[in-house]
Symmetry: C2
Subunit: 589 residues, 2 copies
């Protein structure tokens, strides 16, 4: 070992001991002839001192050190004159007796500090230097800790971690599959898994009872800020369970993570909300319940006063923003412009203020009496001093979604979305099917193996679209602070239910065989009742840290173009490789 | 839950309790009007009894059950008349009150027993049924347990598990890379990692100090029986360490695995053997030291008697097989034919028997006196009753390798290779460089980032081939029972040593930049001294179980053609996908 202690370890109790440390030079400064050096490693920072009257060679060595030099020092632990209570090692310093430069460093292109002076691009290119910064080291340490706690919890619950293959089969549905040409089977391709879904269901058929895996998944889709072409899931499945069992097991897991990693107690049991209540009250299937400001339908309250916009609307909804009566005209205009941006897509925004003096002010004063306006505002649970914002339109869910986006924005502006406050809940009772007007058919809201609720079987076997739309799935999402962290379902395990599902989805026997053949075959050999879920691990880490950027929680992430700019990948490959793979790149693309 | 107990759980203490179980029908038999059913799940088997005088519907339900039906039963735990001491649940049975068929099963294509009647191909196609068999369930349970113990040990030692990317860059050396075409970057490819080697070294540069990962790796090579295109490594790296630190850390890990998983004590410290001693004594860099029968050089003892084969040989070696003096002429002929097969490649085999009556018998009686033969045999440490086998040739290492193969074969025949006996050791002091006569240049025996031993630096900077051949690396392999389970090295962290290494390997500055550019750049910014290793996890699992087939320890393995016959992959993909990827498959390949 090049050291006998780490840079985060020494305390006053070690005073007088001779120690050997190794690490990086964080900074170095001269003060009255003495040289002070902050020596850094993963575990912390320790202050080194080279006295003014030290050996000339030693003083020169200390003076020669540049930022990020790697050094080994021997010296005596000494009590500091001016202690630094902010640092765990702040009570001591090392009186250096010798310095051994293990490696020099050219000057880094940005500062290795909590707040770096480097831009995003340069830090991505030199990711290995960015990763030296404390916030990123903490992010990856948290990730390690969470993964370890997940494994301990699930192991204790008799789950087996079973590795499923990465080289699998491209499915006809797999438009977003990454594919891998096979050299040994020319013209044929493997695909990288978008999830181990079929394999985990096969493991249930195979009797493994409780499976999990922290596993990489791949999706070749156009990237948004929070998406990565490769991402990590905590993937789980259980046999002989009902929805209640799955929810209990995994809220237990999340409760353990919150307690053991953050020392945060979350409610027991966790709140549950139906998908319908989430959409109606929050305009989102992943509601942020850290604050109220819920959506209220006021369709019936606003009709019949000759205001066509509202009279013609199929749905009118409102949220009440606390203290919003004080907003200026300019502020309200700005909010109105904000909701009219294409990202939100509202046509406009109606408001009613309940002023502190008891008066009412609204953008629709012309059509409604003050009493009517007050009644409308109170229907949205506004109190004196609040403003309500009203939106309307021909489609209820669309209006609710826009109100939900506005709600989040206003909550944020009011400081109601503290990332260190955690409000997890389950969303349950999802619709099984989604009707597509465009295609004139139903699609599975989750996937075609999700089981309908037993109590909705009559509707499931009905021929009426209205009945089928009412069928709920035994599906569930784990939602935290407005983010879906995970989700899953009880799966169909009976052949006749599965057959009906394909029928409802308009998938013929032949198509079903082609698309889902081997899993349907497997299910003939005694599939147990089973269900499970998967958590997006990158996002779990990010939210546990109270942060927003998933990339900070991935050691080597890709950018928005799917590129790793550090290693400059993807890149061209040798012609020899293309020849071996029997492939040609089209030249005139 | 569909059950309140598992099928492995109930004991005599539960007698009288009413329980609900769920599982698969392992077998069912009628006996004097009663129906006995073995109900199976991952946890065990429980015997169910339906009495002859039970409700007629219940008797009929019990009679209707086929193999692998999934059922749920309610009944009372009852003490068995004839107990089965071989089963943990053998003291009890369940008097069934009701049976609920959860799912039927068509008849499986082979028996789901410890020894199945199914051939390898059919079991591969129906892997999800093969995985129901007890030996495979135990194999995957062992794998889970080992992975969990690895993580606990390394976590306790401050290692962080950090996920490195799977979509990386194809290297010019990467002839065996699987590549992944990028849709967003037409004509460009990612590669799947053959190992996270560069990333783990970058993590050391980034200051992560102690890294590990249980990680999938990919290699597109022609497959042998024990190779898979995707395989799993326990990949580790440490900073500020010397070889001694790495060896101590990881023999500690293996000691913990042996103790916690198998309750086996391995020596502390583990034996170490130099690569030279392994080659000289065992003809292998992964010696099986469960038995002796080591190779002895007898070159000097056999010269000058006019026997040209030995007189002309650069090297003559021998092994002494205990009790082999009793071999018949026919047996010796068979062994001689065995070593002459192309897999071994010997030209012939000379023997000397030290008969129990004190006489000597040899295939080279003509050239040597009995006293000479006896002296030769004793030089190979033969005792009365033994036979020695002699091989010779122009190249020492080749002869030793052939003798090593013969040694393993004879050890096997003598029952000296018990898979439940564990003899781990470290092989150290590998040569840094391998000379290729063909190419007239040196190659790195491990990889070009492996550090030469500090005490061999003079030879490393020498221009003489003989000096360079003597340079040893700080490299090490963990060997168990004739298998390499893992290996690694201390890496070069100093720019001038790295530069010299490229020079020795005949890699010019430009080529080095092209092939290893970004890692060389990274090393300019203060790379710490570091080193590590990787274990082949599939093989670790296999050997811990005392088995040979790696495939039994992988849930969904591929066959020798790299195919997953269960999902029929690789396969053709849609033209749409090829279009999106801007690729054409050559038609006249």
């Amino acid at each position: 070992m090049f050291r006998d202690h780490t840079c985060g370890e020494l305390r006053l109790a070690n005073a007088g001991h001779t120690v050997t440390l190794a690490g990086w030079v964080q900074r170095s400064r001269k003060l009255g002839g003495m040289t002070f050096i902050d020596l850094r490693d993963r575990y912390g920072i320790t202050q080194l001192v080279v006295e003014a009257d030290a050996d000339a060679a030693l003083v020169e060595a200390a003076t020669s050190l540049g930022r990020e030099y790697v050094i080994q020092v021997v010296g005596e632990v000494d009590e500091r004159q001016s202690k630094n209570p902010k640092m765990p090692t702040g009570d001591i310093e090392i009186k250096v007796a010798s310095i051994n430069i293990l490696n020099k460093s050219v000057t880094p292109p940005f500062t290795i500090e909590d707040e770096s002076d480097g831009g995003e691009d340069i830090r991505a290119k030199f990711r290995y230097l960015d990763l030296r910064r404390n916030p990123l080291q903490q992010a990856l340490a948290l990730r390690h800790r969470l993964a370890h706690e997940v494994r301990n919890y699930l192991d204790a619950q008799d789950f087996m971690e079973i590795e499923t293959p990465y080289l699998i089969k491209s499915t006809p549905e797999g438009a977003r599959d990454f594919v891998v040409p096979s050299r040994m089977n020319p013209g044929q391709f493997y695909a990288l898994p978008q999830s181990p879904q079929t394999f985990k269901q096969l493991l249930m058929v195979a009797g493994y009872d409780r499976y999990f895996q922290i596993v990489r998944c791949f999706r070749d889709e156009d990237l948004r800020a929070d998406r990565q072409p490769e991402f990590t899931q905590i993937d789980c499945e259980m046999s002989f369970v009902e929805q209640e069992d799955v929810l209990n097991m995994f809220e237990g897991m999340m409760r353990t993570l919150f307690k053991n990693v953050l020392n945060v107690d979350i409610p027991d049991p966790l709140p549950r909300m139906s998908w319908y209540d989430a959409m109606d009250g929050y305009g989102s299937d992943k509601p942020d319940v850290r604050f109220g400001m819920t959506i209220h339908e006021i369709t019936d309250k606003v009709k019949g006063n000759g205001f066509a916009v509202l009279d013609d609307a199929a749905y009118v909804g409102a949220i009440a923003v606390p203290g919003g009566a004080g907003y200026t005209r300019k502020q309200i205009d700005e909010i109105t412009e904000w909701v009219k941006r294409p990202q939100v897509g509202a046509k406009g925004l109606i408001y009613i203020k309940l002023n502190d003096d008891g008066s009412v002010k609204s953008s629709i004063d012309k059509f409604y009496t003050p009493e009517q306006l007050k009644a409308i505002a109170e229907a949205a649970e506004a109190k004196t001093g609040d403003i309500i914002f009203i939106m309307s339109g021909p489609q209820k869910r669309k209006v609710q979604t826009m109100l939900g986006v506005l709600r989040l924005e206003m909550g944020g502006r009011l400081g109601l979305r503290d990332p260190k406050v955690f409000a997890p809940l389950w969303i349950v009772d999802f619709p099984l099917l989604e009707w597509s007007d465009e295609d004139g058919r139903f699609y599975a809201m989750h996937h075609p193996f999700t089981a309908p609720k037993p109590e909705h079987m009559d509707w499931f076997y009905s021929d009426r679209k209205e009945d089928l739309e009412k069928v709920c799935a035994n599906a569930y999402d784990f939602v935290l602070n407005g983010n879906e962290l995970g989700g899953g379902s009880i799966r169909i395990h009976e052949a006749d239910v599965q057959k009906r599902m394909f029928e409802v989805l308009g998938i013929g026997a032949e198509e079903a065989e082609y698309k889902f053949g081997f899993i349907i075959h497997a299910f003939q050999f005694g599939a147990p009742p089973h269900g499970g879920l998967a958590f997006g691990f990158d996002r779990v880490c990010t939210l546990f840290a109270g942060k927003e950027s998933i990339r900070d929680f991935i050691a080597f992430p890709k950018n928005n173009q799917g590129r790793d700019v550090m290693i400059d990948s993807p890149s061209q490959i040798d012609q020899v490789q293309l020849d071996e793979l029997n492939l040609d790149i089209r030249q005139n693309a």
